[in-house]
Symmetry: D2
Amino acid sequence: MIGGSRDAFIGAIHRMAMRLDDQIELVAGVFSRDSEKSRATGEDLFLDRRRVYDDYETMAAVEAARPPEERIDLVTITTPNASHVPIAKAFLGAGFHVVCEKPLGVSLTEALELREVVRASGRIFALTHNYTGYGMVKEARELVRSGLLGALRKVVVEYPQGWMSKPLPNEATSNRSWRMDPEINGPSGCLADIGTHAENLARYITGLRIKALCAEFTTFVPGRLLEDDATLLLRYHGGAKGILSASQISIGEENRLRICVYGTEAGLEWRQEQPNELMIKPAAGPREIRRPGNDYLSSAVRRFGRLPAGHPDGFIEAFGNIYREVARAIAALLGGAPPPVDCDFPTIDDGVEGMAFVECALQSARAGGLWRSMPEVR
Amino acid sequence: MIGGSRDAFIGAIHRMAMRLDDQIELVAGVFSRDSEKSRATGEDLFLDRRRVYDDYETMAAVEAARPPEERIDLVTITTPNASHVPIAKAFLGAGFHVVCEKPLGVSLTEALELREVVRASGRIFALTHNYTGYGMVKEARELVRSGLLGALRKVVVEYPQGWMSKPLPNEATSNRSWRMDPEINGPSGCLADIGTHAENLARYITGLRIKALCAEFTTFVPGRLLEDDATLLLRYHGGAKGILSASQISIGEENRLRICVYGTEAGLEWRQEQPNELMIKPAAGPREIRRPGNDYLSSAVRRFGRLPAGHPDGFIEAFGNIYREVARAIAALLGGAPPPVDCDFPTIDDGVEGMAFVECALQSARAGGLWRSMPEVR
Amino acid sequence: MIGGSRDAFIGAIHRMAMRLDDQIELVAGVFSRDSEKSRATGEDLFLDRRRVYDDYETMAAVEAARPPEERIDLVTITTPNASHVPIAKAFLGAGFHVVCEKPLGVSLTEALELREVVRASGRIFALTHNYTGYGMVKEARELVRSGLLGALRKVVVEYPQGWMSKPLPNEATSNRSWRMDPEINGPSGCLADIGTHAENLARYITGLRIKALCAEFTTFVPGRLLEDDATLLLRYHGGAKGILSASQISIGEENRLRICVYGTEAGLEWRQEQPNELMIKPAAGPREIRRPGNDYLSSAVRRFGRLPAGHPDGFIEAFGNIYREVARAIAALLGGAPPPVDCDFPTIDDGVEGMAFVECALQSARAGGLWRSMPEVR
Amino acid sequence: MIGGSRDAFIGAIHRMAMRLDDQIELVAGVFSRDSEKSRATGEDLFLDRRRVYDDYETMAAVEAARPPEERIDLVTITTPNASHVPIAKAFLGAGFHVVCEKPLGVSLTEALELREVVRASGRIFALTHNYTGYGMVKEARELVRSGLLGALRKVVVEYPQGWMSKPLPNEATSNRSWRMDPEINGPSGCLADIGTHAENLARYITGLRIKALCAEFTTFVPGRLLEDDATLLLRYHGGAKGILSASQISIGEENRLRICVYGTEAGLEWRQEQPNELMIKPAAGPREIRRPGNDYLSSAVRRFGRLPAGHPDGFIEAFGNIYREVARAIAALLGGAPPPVDCDFPTIDDGVEGMAFVECALQSARAGGLWRSMPEVR
């Protein structure tokens, strides 16, 4: 693991998620650029102190030099955005598989470069758009694929949070936190941070691709350099329309990612804060609530179930599903086989789409909310 | 009553709403342009057949000629949009108070003309933006006014319905229903029909006024002449932002009007399909759910309560609150006093704002989604 | 109307409920034993003051002496429990139909006597167990009847309120309110007041009849003479089991009547505070939510719909359904026909069952919670 | 671990729960009485095959003989009920700490014997009444303790499941599954299995102790030897009353454990299927919803948070909290200190209370539903 020191919340989540299914063991890392903090984190985690490295370049080199049965297979990158691509390149270059936090990086250009590296490496690269790990999100996708909704017409996806509605503690002192520092976080704040989750979720469920968009960015809290609220109108290829909003100043909201999809035959709704319910709204019958652990779910969903019905899955289990699939793919490769075709985790292509989305939105917003065409990046 | 024959659903709702509080008695009407249907409706309603008229001009003239204690006080207009203004003018001209269905008419020009007539008449004119009649909507407004939310930053209001996601029965035969006929309904479909409710609700609660907007209109069902889906980005005077969406092709949705408002100190949420809950989301405390019939509500809200807590209010009760306030205003005028200052019903000014909103949105949408400034109509 | 003066909340509700569908007009009454208060209420209601009577005996006699086209058809009794039966007898004896508040009276003996009077009179007698007026309750009954749930096994019905968790204002001064005065309210408090609603609701939906019960009564607030909390275990004829609880000290609850029914094939759930949802829980498929105004509902339910889907029905509309059915029955009789066979309102038999239930529960509770057999009263 | 082979769902849950916080590593076990199945499970778990034992006696002896730094610290027992106590005795006798599935055993007598062993051993003994591991359950307890609810009056706890509403697959062939086999499961079915969870949850939150109870047991599915539905009326010491129901034939329910508590000042409600909300219902103010991850929670609750607000916790995280506290206690002992006084996991005393509860209920039910006093077992 790179990043994820003691006080970084996302690193701890990655560790719980990877640990959950007993397929991945954390054995080495650079947990902080502060070596002391890194070592302390390694001790918390009962690691061999020789495998807590001072920097990621050293780690990539030293691990690659170990005999195959002793070296790591996979590295997880949980650092701020600007370092994702360089770190990923280093480990891919050293022959390791990579799991990387979203967004992929800070520009479409570096995303496209990384894609070349990934493609050339033959290694697994997964991006932790973890919300697609929820079983009911997977069920939503299966139902769309099955044709239950008919031709899709409209997507409404919103991701309001409130935690940045007041200046953050470190903003008060340094006038910026890394999330609002363009040099560390890249040129977009809220949209890069959580809007990309919304974009990924909508694309995962619907398969729709954005043709053009109109973006309105706002920085509500004085002194911030990046937007803390973003709303986008979307036109999809094929005629469907969308509304995508991401906000970190929606005070009182916790992490209320929600998506509604409407087709010619039925609609659906899913909410992250109540993740174990998927509501189906048919044209002419009672609404249906689908829940995990039941035999009526799609087979592609049932295989992710860890618990009987009525035992709520949470955020960590959804996150763990990403790691479970990555582990499945790596296990296949270690056994000399290609990854199973149904392996289900976000890839480098998702990351590139996300960066294209952010850049296109930035162009629209900077133009004062004019429509812009999405670049074709497939 | 003008309009509201046997098979018109909205006329029946008006009658229940006006009857509820025993302040208004229906005694005369033109229920249909088809005289036979009009008379049959009059019989259903136990009316004196001499007061079921063939046309509204006759009704206005004959009723005005009756002695004061026998003539009507108030007329309710529940016809399609294009006839609202002419009928209202006729009755205002004859000295009667008017309650009119929304939207006010089919153009801003006629709305402004009607406002002149209303102002000159000294009569009451109320527009049935009935969703503002819900107690919890009134509580939301009071809480905003009290400063609980702080300075407002963001409004998200959505009004999805699904009943037009398939061609309507009469669309199948005549290729259009009146709601999709520009000559009867005016130049906007979905936005005029329900988007104006959303606009009015947001303005009622927040007091915010739109400075500019960007509109995306879509006609999803083939053959329709008007939009059946509309989404707008809003910039308010003072810096707040908004998202307003109205849709009649959100399949499986019934009448899911919902509003979220976020300020610097707290947020709130209200949903029409569960109208007896208002959720308050403070920055740093537990969420609160406010419900009708409780002493903790604002006094401006408590006076609308008809029931003890836990006895759900519904759509008719909210609608009835509009009529109750209109009756209160008329009763004051009949008694020689001005209407109470706290009378709470949508007025001609709300109607003008609504028409300005629709026209501005039409301009933006026709320009392909460019930002347009709202005309100043106060 | 007998009872229901200005400050009585239930009288006002009856008036709104009877008015809603324009089939019943209030023309006469004794609104209070205090003549002045009665007359003032009559004025509020725009009544002819000659038809605001001093006592119910006079009213019954004078109205009966009017010519048929001028006299009342129906009387509504909204007085405290102990006077229900005497008043009902007086009006039935004078040839009038009767709508009576629940519970039927204060003893099984007087209930059985009244049943004889009703049967002999040929008049309509309806008891306002109004919760059975909700469309989704009717749908629940239809689904049970259709066999969707299979053979019924278990019923859980609970009716918690919190409004008596503290001494009431008049309890503070007089040490009792009428609801806790055995001479006015009868020998049971909470169970008679709201437990009978729960019993009626469960019987209406399921058709099950209680064979034996075990009751635990508690008086939590010091100084009260009647129970303010009651829980019963039920054994139904046929082997099903039940739990019925009624409480007025469940602090913070408003009027949370809820019922769950489980059969061999499916379960269902309905909650009064969210009355527009009926949840069906099948053995092996997604849960279903049924809502008013939709074509998929049973035809026996659709005819009660006043509004399109998504426009919430509330308490008054459910209450109005009782009056609507009573009016339908009376209209048939006035036209010389028998009441329609599908007339759907609680009858004298429901009242008798309710009193048998209360008396049986009292016997069990007084015995310290021993099982007692329900008397057969059919 | 003893028990928990490949196809046992509860064993897998224990492993995820213990793994989550990186404090416990599974190194040895007897996963099945079928040695082959046990070994296969060990391989799934990447265990050293020499530490997958054939029987628990051998495991206890061999592990005890290892040097301290190599031997296990803790054993988890996930076998059927009848073997809990013998296995626990063996490992306690060998000096190990024990985590044991609920219920504690099959009789109060053996429970009391085990308590003696535990007390004499000085070892940690934890019982996995895992629902008390949810943060919002802990918050409920803290709020009761703080006096927010005032003096407690009423507890309603229900635990309906539907998975046994039809004969189970193995019931069809062998006419019983182990859960319905008195020799393996003990003399109570549904109440021992899930009613003990309800009892423990209620006691955890309220601190109330049962004085007497009245139980109604039913076996709905033909051929079963144990009850599949149980309802109890409770009288608590101090005057509070309770209703406790447990059912495995509540068809369509998944795992709907719910508790409502009412005091003189406020009420609360928590539901396992939506575990991240705790509703507080004050006497005279808006309802409050408390959610994990927020600073307004009690400090005793915040220390269990792994995630920021809005990231749902699920069943595994709650279960993991039991293990986390056990690990904390063991870590203290390993460091030579006593377990922290605020260690929060169910103990041998909870197990004894649970067995006393089951035995008392059995006596009441067998007597046809007569009240019985709870034995004093403290």
